[in-house]
Each structure stands twice: as structure tokens, then as C-alpha cells.
Symmetry: C2
Subunit: 302 residues, 2 copies
């Protein structure tokens, strides 16, 4: 195994045992029905829990308006993770030049033009601008699932460029939103422990870019505005399976979302990385999911 | 309704009756749980029919290697529909320049670099390179579902930039593949008629780009290598709900896919546009899906 990291070995094992299909690009894999059964089973568990609380169900596509990411200051904080969609908008002569550049092996990317769209970097971003205005009494609760993009090619099977995320989002009065996040921190730990995963809850921070990001990272930890549920899989750091984020009035000021009393709402989101949960289960219970403990299989409906 | 086209009126109605959510970009909408129930119900019907034939289930992410699209000559045929993913790969000084351009309202797209990824333009494209080599006796049958991107902003609710497609793909000996496509043309008509849609099967062509594309479009019709199941909804042309494509050995020569006897395989794909089917049902049976005919609701499980 000389020269192959533990991460590369697990990726290879996921491919060889019929869960993933290599595409040639790190962090971009096809999923077999066998793998999808695990992610879909877990996704439904979290969606059902949200639906029992009365959540509205939403699905946004994997692309969203670039303008919303700019308003939300995504390009300030995480520029290196973005994926903007560029398209060819030229005429037939431009097309001939494009094909000539492709044939010659030149960089042809500058012959495309930036479009109005970017890949969705978290399931909740497209939601906030649609909530503009005054919320009903008590606020809102929304459950979303989406394919997410983050430009971070890696050998770590738990650090994908394109992956699925289930998020529940609570928008409303500050105290209710803060309590709701606390509730989901215990629910999240309990749910993952019930699936046999020995997880821990940790204070965390987002990977804010650059020197300026250092202070933002420290502030976020001091404020305890981000928690993660973690499990050591094969990465150097424990892998975060879920995160619990309290934004206070950041998004509601940006998109002018107000409570029934006219105050800016607070928002919080809790998100589960579906592939990370599936990989944690495969790493913990073994690569033959048919031999997993019965209660885990029953819980996931597989 | 002066100044509002029939297409715009239907889009507006889908939003007002709680199926879609406006994002501000034409052809990119959020879906409510009520809309997803229709697309998911139909998707399962087609997947089940494929699974009963022994299909392997696959899901590829909404991004795929650009190199595969180039090998498949997508940029030759449909350059204006592509979506290539560009990311920021600069340092802190580059980041400062990027933010300054964004603040100044300048075009900042050239400060990003073309990545190895493009948005998936049909569910089957990522599959072919993974089949390289010799097929088992009789070939393979695969069923895939995916979010698809096509850069064609439009007011027509049935012409989305980001939409879901269920495809079944047959790869094997020429005669078996051709017969399988014929089988699915009748199955497709029967399935949609059973849902109360008065559809027709038509010879069709892909929208090949430019003057050179005119001959390709004519050849494709003469060869009868593409059929569509159509229904007039609100577009000027009848809307294609499904397409049935016989590629002969085009993809198998590009990606060197061979039958057990060493000959290049033939391939065919049949695809259903999930949002188009849902819109056709809403247009035909009315915007209150709770009052649709019982057999339609039962068929879709809604």
C-alpha cells in the first residue's frame, strides 16, 4: 500500500465494493443504488422529523442566482469554494474559434462568459431571499435537500466537491430560534448514536478565507455560533457529519426578513452531509451493509 | 393580462398555487413538497419498470468532467447550452481585487479560472466512460436520474435551465438495443396515456448549433434516430415529455465499449423530463392536484 493514503484506500474500497463509481475527477463520484439507499434512508429520517414539527418541504436546484451569493457575502468569506457557471454566448465565428482552441489543447475558458448562475454552496442559501417580508406569527420552519458544490478537490472520500445535504432552517424570534438549534443538537447526537455512531458535539468554525478570516474563525468559536457533530473516520481531523449554525440577524438584515412584530428575525440552520453519514456508517459497521446491525438497517429502511 | 404571454401566465400560476418558488432567474425555480411529490411519483414509476427488467441503478452528481463532454463532441453540437464551472484560485491580493471588482459592479468573471468540471447536460453522459471495456454477454441496462443543466433562459415553464431527468440506457448488440428502444416508445406512450395525457409520438431532432447543424438535424430526422413523445402545453411547439435516442456506435467508439464478441456495442437512451411531465399533468388535469382523477393520483402515489 506504499504511497496510498488511508483516505485513498477508503475511496478505492467504496469503488471496489460497489458503492461509488470513479469519474476521473477527485471528489466527484457516481453513486450506485446500494449507496443511494443509505443516503436516501437517512435523508428521509431527518425530513420526517422536520415534517412532524410542521416543516414546509422545499427543493432548490443545484444552481442559484450569483447575485444572492454576493448579497450574502459568500465571495468575501469562501471565494475559493465557489463554482460560477460560464456559458458560450458567441456566434458561428466564435464557435469556430472555440473548437480550434479545444483541438489545439489551449485554455478556452476565457471564450465563455459568466452567467447569472452559480452552484449552490449550501442547501439554505437560495431560501433566504424567498422569505423577504414579514413572517407569520411564530416564524417559519423549512426542510430542504439539495446537491451542494464546493471547489475543494481532495482524496478524502468525506470531502466531496459535489454532495447531498439535508438542512432544516428555522426563521423567527431570537429566543425560539436559539432554542430550536439547541433541540436539534441533542436530536442530532441521539439520531446518530441510535445508528451506532460514537459521535461527539464540538464547537466549530467555518473555513473563512485568508488572513482576515483568522479573526472571523476565532470570533465564531468564541460566540459558539457553530457546532458540529464529529466522528473520526480516516481524515486527519474528525469528520463533521452535521453542523448547527446560529446566524442571529445576519441573513434577515441582508434579505429584510421580519417577525410579525416588525423586528428583524433570527435564523438558524442545521445540516447533515448525507454522503458523510453514509461513509461513517460504512466505516463503522463494515463495507457489507447487509451485515449491519438489524436496528441500523431497520432505521434506514435498507 | 396585456403583455403577459401564455407561458408567463402558467409560470405565474405554478408559483401562485404553491408548486414553484421564484428565484429571480428565468428557468430556475424552487420546488415545494407538493410539486416534488408529482415528479418523484413519476420518477419511481419509470425506475420500477427499469428495475423489473433488471436495470442497475445509478445516480451521478449534477457536475461531470468537462473532458468527457469534449470527447463526446458536446461543444461541437450544443456549445450555447453548456455550463462550465469556474472557480477562484487566486491569493489574498487576487481576492482583494475580486472584491473590489464586485463592489464596483464590474465584470469579475475573468478573475475566475476554468475548472475541470461542467454541469451535466443529460443524465447518460457521465455513464458512457465508466463502461469502457468489454460488456458482459447481452450487454447492460442502467437506470439513472439526475439534475440537468441547459443554458437557455426562457419564460416557458417547460424549458428550464435546471431540471430533473430519468433516463434508462441500454448498451449491447445492435439488434437488441434497437428493439429495446422500440419497446420503450410503446411503453412511454402507454404510461403517459394511462396518466390521462393525450400524447403523440413524433420523429424529432436535437438542436444542433449553427449552419453546420442544419444538415445534422436533417440527417437525424431521416435516420429516425430520435423520437419524442409530445403534448401541446403552452409553448409554440408541442412540448417533448420524453425522448428515445438510438446512438448506434457513436458513444461506444468514443469510449471504446465492446460487446462480448469484440464488436463495438450500440447504445440507446430513453429519457423523461420530470418537470415537463408534472407540468403536462397540471395543465391537463388542473392546478389542484388533489382533484385529479383517482387512477392518476394512485398511479403516482400522491
Amino acid at each position: 500500500m506504499t504511497g496510498i493514503s488511508e483516505q485513498q484506500a477508503l475511496t478505492r474500497a467504496l469503488i471496489d465494493t460497489g458503492y461509488w463509481i470513479d469519474t476521473g475527477v477527485p471528489g466527484v463520484y457516481g453513486r450506485t443504488g446500494r449507496f443511494e439507499a443509505i443516503t436516501t434512508g437517512f435523508d428521509r429520517l431527518v425530513e420526517q422529523m422536520a415534517a412532524e414539527d410542521g416543516a414546509e418541504i422545499r427543493r432548490f436546484p443545484p444552481v442559484m442566482p450569483t447575485s444572492v451569493l454576493i448579497e450574502a457575502e459568500y465571495m468575501q468569506s469562501f471565494p475559493e469554494l465557489c463554482g460560477c457557471v460560464h456559458s458560450f454566448e458567441g456566434d458561428e465565428d466564435g464557435h469556430a474559434r472555440l473548437l480550434a482552441s479545444i483541438s489545439a489543447g489551449e485554455d478556452w475558458s476565457r471564450q465563455l462568459t459568466g452567467a447569472a448562475l452559480a452552484l449552490t454552496p449550501a442547501a439554505c442559501y437560495p431560501l433566504y431571499p424567498t422569505l423577504r417580508g414579514t413572517l407569520p406569527q411564530g416564524g417559519r420552519l423549512v426542510s430542504l435537500s439539495s446537491f451542494i458544490f464546493r471547489h475543494e478537490p481532495s482524496d478524502d472520500p468525506a470531502r466531496l466537491q459535489s454532495f447531498q445535504m439535508r438542512e432544516n432552517v428555522r426563521i423567527g424570534p431570537a429566543d425560539e430560534v436559539a432554542q430550536w438549534r439547541e433541540l436539534w443538537m441533542s436530536r442530532g447526537v441521539e439520531l446518530l448514536e441510535r445508528l451506532g455512531l460514537p459521535v461527539t458535539l464540538e464547537v466549530a468554525n467555518d473555513p473563512f478565507f485568508g488572513r482576515g478570516g483568522r479573526m472571523l474563525r476565532a470570533n465564531q468559536r468564541a460566540d459558539r455560533s457553530k457546532f458540529e457533530i464529529c466522528l473520526p473516520v480516516v481524515a486527519e481531523q474528525p469528520t463533521a457529519l452535521a453542523s448547527f449554525n446560529y446566524h442571529r440577524d445576519k441573513f434577515s438584515r441582508t434579505f429584510d426578513i421580519r417577525c410579525a412584530d416588525g423586528e428583524h428575525a433570527h435564523t438558524a440552520c442545521i445540516g447533515f452531509g448525507l454522503e458523510r453519514v453514509a461513509i461513517a456508517l460504512l466505516h463503522t459497521h463494515g463495507l457489507d451493509c447487509a451485515s449491519w446491525p438489524r436496528e441500523v438497517r431497520t432505521g434506514l429502511g435498507i
